[in-house]
């Protein structure tokens, strides 16, 4: 257990915890775009920056990304100093130039009083903010089907050679985690399309409703040793099936009683 001061209040935290979770747990709102509990923090978006100092630093301060900074005994944290707000404002301003059409960015920027970017809108931009959430979640999944490609300002997230990613299993984790909803995908009939690759969706044997991609199920079956038949029926029909079975038990019990 360590003690830190956040905005003047002394707070207890567990060793190894990152500042961001402690700050948020205490109801202080800090924006972040690249943070997600399911993935390791990397500090790409820089929005969660806070100012830190210590008693013995004698007034010296520094700015750190709270998602990556572990709590330390005696740390003094300020989450909304003018400098910190200036950083967040500038970053949101830059992001707004990068993806002016993103509602998520627009909303966040508005909260910091920015309605129009001060900069030139990036030509041919999309709503990708390079947070790497998609590549990181794909790596956690054990596939790494997509990655950051190139370097510098031209960097983009793409599958190898910009072609259908051979390691993709159509799980949609990348599209689901994307904070700006920029990864396109469609489910049509029993076909899912993502990263230009088509995947067969499992159709429920009972009702025909589509569930997850067959390759995703195969991966789970192999990796996590789950019986194949679990995936053949949709959750609705599985519940009905359970109800039917329970009904049979009830009926049998009543028969016995009679």
């Amino acid at each position: 257990m360590v003690h830190i001061t956040i905005n003047g209040k002394v707070i207890k935290a567990t060793e190894g915890e990152m500042l961001l979770s402690v700050i948020r747990r205490h109801g202080i709102e800090i924006p972040a775009l690249c943070h997600h509990e399911a993935i390791e923090p990397t500090g790409n978006c820089r929005l969660c920056m806070v100012e830190i100092t210590r008693e013995e630093w004698d007034g010296w301060k520094k700015h750190v990304t709270s998602c990556l900074y572990p709590v330390e005994e005696g740390l003094i944290v300020s989450t909304h100093t003018p400098d910190v707000i200036e950083i967040r404002k500038t970053i949101l301003d830059l992001q707004l130039a990068n993806c002016p059409d993103s509602e998520v960015i627009q909303k966040m920027a508005e909260e910091y009083g920015i309605y129009k970017t001060s900069y030139e809108v990036v030509p041919e931009g999309d709503n990708c903010i390079m947070c790497y959430a998609c590549t990181r979640i794909c790596e956690v999944l054990g596939r790494s089907a997509i990655s950051a490609v190139g370097r510098g300002h031209r960097k983009e997230i793409a599958p190898p050679f910009g072609a259908e990613p051979p390691d993709c299993i159509g799980c949609l984790a990348c599209a689901q985690i994307c904070p700006t909803d920029v990864i396109p995908w469609t489910d049509r009939d029993n076909t899912r399309t993502i990263w230009d690759r088509k995947f067969e969706l499992i159709s429920c044997k009972e009702c025909g409703r589509q569930t997850i991609a067959r390759e995703f199920a195969d991966y789970l079956i192999e990796k996590r040793n789950i019986p194949r038949e679990y995936f053949e029926i949709c959750d609705n029909c599985k519940r009905s099936e359970l109800a039917r079975k329970m009904g049979e038990i009830v009926a049998r019990a009543q028969e016995v009683a009679i």
Partner: protein
């Protein structure tokens, strides 16, 4: 021959020295990057050919020594004849036979190849008396340009590996660290972190594995000191690394060499192999029981890999994206193990400190920046080349006394130090002493040691644009302030160069710079705005001239200038030949005509005109 004790090393050195003394004269041919670019490989070939055919007493093919950079690249190709130190400059292939006949056979001088001091036209024979060399003090560069980098015995004969012998026999690891700490040596890669403290931290961490890495990713454009050391004296780097490994308790490490330096890779590999063969690297070094091995890791051409965490990722086979270093790489470095990373020049300095003592080193330079520092002097300065000077020397001494001032009598405008992380200092800063802290205070930084001199034909806005452009493509692209911030800063800078900016842009750029500096993840972004920040603070008028008057005072920014041909034109056709867009027409001996519609203001005509017939407005 395996050297398995200190005695054996001493015996071997005696033997090497005797062999050396058998040659009456040595002919040193510089194969440094500068001389190579002037064709010194052809001189070497010619010399070998002539000496293998001729019989001269006391001189043979064995007398030829190909060396690394000798220093005064501007006068290359250089041939130096020892022991007299006869300095022949701008040697052509056709001069070689004359040098052999006159100097090697008859012992006379080839007057026309000797150095003439531009100030008084005096001829200077011995290079050590040329002001360029006389003002220097060489420690890290002690052997560069003097020894054959491919010959480990030449290094040993010059006292090489004696510091390692001293450390391994009779010094405890802690004593080595203490000696380095006492020397006050600070990292020569740019950061200036105290080397002794870094080693002590690494040694103090409980770990089964520790790494010692050498940063040979000299990415700053305009710097080539490390290249010259790796190519010209690779064993000094190795010796420094082994001493460090002994001090911190490391058994393996890497030398990370940038992609653009293929010769450095070749020479370092030869050095590693030779040191292995001599028993100076690998298992049981010099019979002491200590083991350390170093391998080369080649970079892939990414400036950001000079940053420690990116470099370590690159060594581990990943893309060089830095990580946030709230835990420093000396604690958690390569493969998450404690790692010492020092640059080439730092390691090359270490053996001298061990031999001569930390106090000796600390007596050179200033109190907080001890010792000497190597610089590469380039740009608009007469004596471009490689130098090493005591810390605390003034910029003026470097540029005027050693560098010989600005060519063509032009006016000094600025000196750029520290590469893309540094800044440009104007004329009124010329008297500043060169040390880590003073340069940082002045808004630039020491950096790895690139020093580029600029004259009044250099546009400072263009220089800022150049560095920002460099950084936009070299940013790893991971964090927003660096990737998007520098991109926008560059865009705004381009607008100024095009005369399309408004005055408010400067304030926006300054605000943005501040955020990029504080919010970026690694050093590349944090120092990225420096070239803009320093130029706008020292050369604001030049920025305003671009914005308000839409003029580029230096005549560089293409959108703000026009070229015209005046009456001095003799009709020589040179500009017509060179114009990439065929905007110039005319006939021989008749004044040429420039079509403004077609002209792209590239300035090629201006560059080739020998009659000052092209004007810039």
């Amino acid at each position: 021959m395996r050297i398995d004790s200190v005695d054996k090393l001493n015996h071997w050195r005696e033997k090497c020295l005797k062999k050396r003394a058998a040659q009456k004269r040595k002919v040193l041919v510089c194969l440094g990057p500068g001389c190579l670019a002037s064709g010194s490989d052809e001189i070497l070939g010619e010399l070998k050919k002539i000496l293998s055919e001729k019989k001269i007493k006391g001189v043979s093919v064995e007398s030829i020594k190909k060396t690394g950079c000798h220093g005064l690249c501007a006068r290359g190709p250089l041939v130096v004849i020892e022991p007299e130190g006869i300095f022949y400059s701008r040697v052509k292939k056709s001069n070689v036979a004359e040098i052999v006949e006159t100097t090697l056979e008859k012992g006379e001088l080839v007057e026309k190849l000797l150095y003439k001091d531009p100030s008084d036209e005096q001829t200077i024979v011995d290079y050590k008396k040329i002001p360029f060399y006389a003002r220097q003090q060489r420690i890290s560069l002690r052997n560069v340009g003097q020894i054959d980098p491919d010959d480990i015995d030449d290094y040993i004969a010059s006292g090489g590996y004696s510091a390692l012998a001293r450390a391994l026999n009779g010094m405890k690891p802690q004593e080595v660290i203490d000696e380095i700490s006492r020397s006050g040596l600070r990292g020569r890669g740019g950061g200036g972190f105290p080397t002794g403290r870094k080693w002590a931290t690494c040694a103090g961490i409980d770990s089964d594995i520790r790494y010692v890495l050498c940063n040979g990713d000299e990415g700053d454009p305009g710097a080539f000191m490390d290249r010259c050391i790796m190519e010209g004296d690779p064993h000094s780097v190795l010796e420094g690394m082994i001493i460090c490994a002994y001090a911190v308790g490391s058994r393996e490490g890497y030398i990370y060499v940038r992609e653009e330096y293929p010769l450095a890779v070749v020479n370092l590999q030869k050095a590693i192999d030779a040191a292995h063969e001599r028993g100076l690297l690998g298992e049981n070094i010099m019979g002491s029981g200590f083991t350390y091995d170093a391998r080369i890791s080649r970079g892939g051409g990414a400036f950001v890999c000079g940053e420690s965490s990116a470099l370590m990722k690159s060594v581990a086979g990943e893309i060089g994206e830095p990580r946030a270093k709230y835990i420093r790489s000396v604690v958690r470095g390569l493969h998450d193990k404690p790692t010492v990373l020092n640059n080439v020049e730092t390691f090359a300095t270490v053996p001298v400190i061990i031999n001569k003592g930390g106090d000796w080193f600390a007596s050179i330079g200033t109190e907080t920046s001890t010792g000497t520092k190597a610089f590469s002097l380039a740009g608009k300065v007469c004596n471009t080349g490689l130098i090493e000077v005591p810390m605390g020397i003034s910029l003026r001494e470097i540029i005027y006394d050693i560098g010989g001032g600005i060519p063509e009598g032009r006016e000094f405008k600025a000196v750029q130090t520290g590469g893309p992380s540094g800044g440009c200092l104007p004329a009124d800063k010329l008297n500043l002493p060169v040390d880590f802290d003073t340069l940082t205070e002045a808004g630039s930084m020491m950096g790895s040691g690139g020093m580029i001199v600029m004259d009044n034909r250099t546009c400072m806005v263009d220089v800022a644009r150049y560095f920002l452009n460099f950084l936009v493509s070299e940013s790893c692209g991971k964090c927003v302030p660096c990737r998007e911030g520098l991109y926008q800063l560059h865009g705004l800078c381009v607008k100024i160069c095009e005369g399309k900016a408004v005055e408010e842009s400067l304030a926006l750029m300054e605000r943005l710079s501040k955020v990029i500096q504080t919010a970026s993840l690694c050093g590349l972004g944090q120092s990225g705005p420096n070239p803009f920040v320093s130029t706008v603070s020292y050369f604001r008028d030049e920025y305003l001239a671009h914005i308000r008057d839409e003029k580029c005072p230096a005549g560089i920014c293409r959108d703000l200038i026009t070229y015209t041909i005046n009456d001095k034109c003799t009709g020589c056709l040179a500009c017509i030949e060179v114009c990439p867009v065929d905007a110039i027409t005319g006939e021989k001996k008749i004044k040429h005509v420039l079509d403004q519609e077609k002209c792209t203001q590239c300035g090629s005509c201006y560059a080739v005109c020998k009659f000052e017939a092209v004007d810039i407005e």
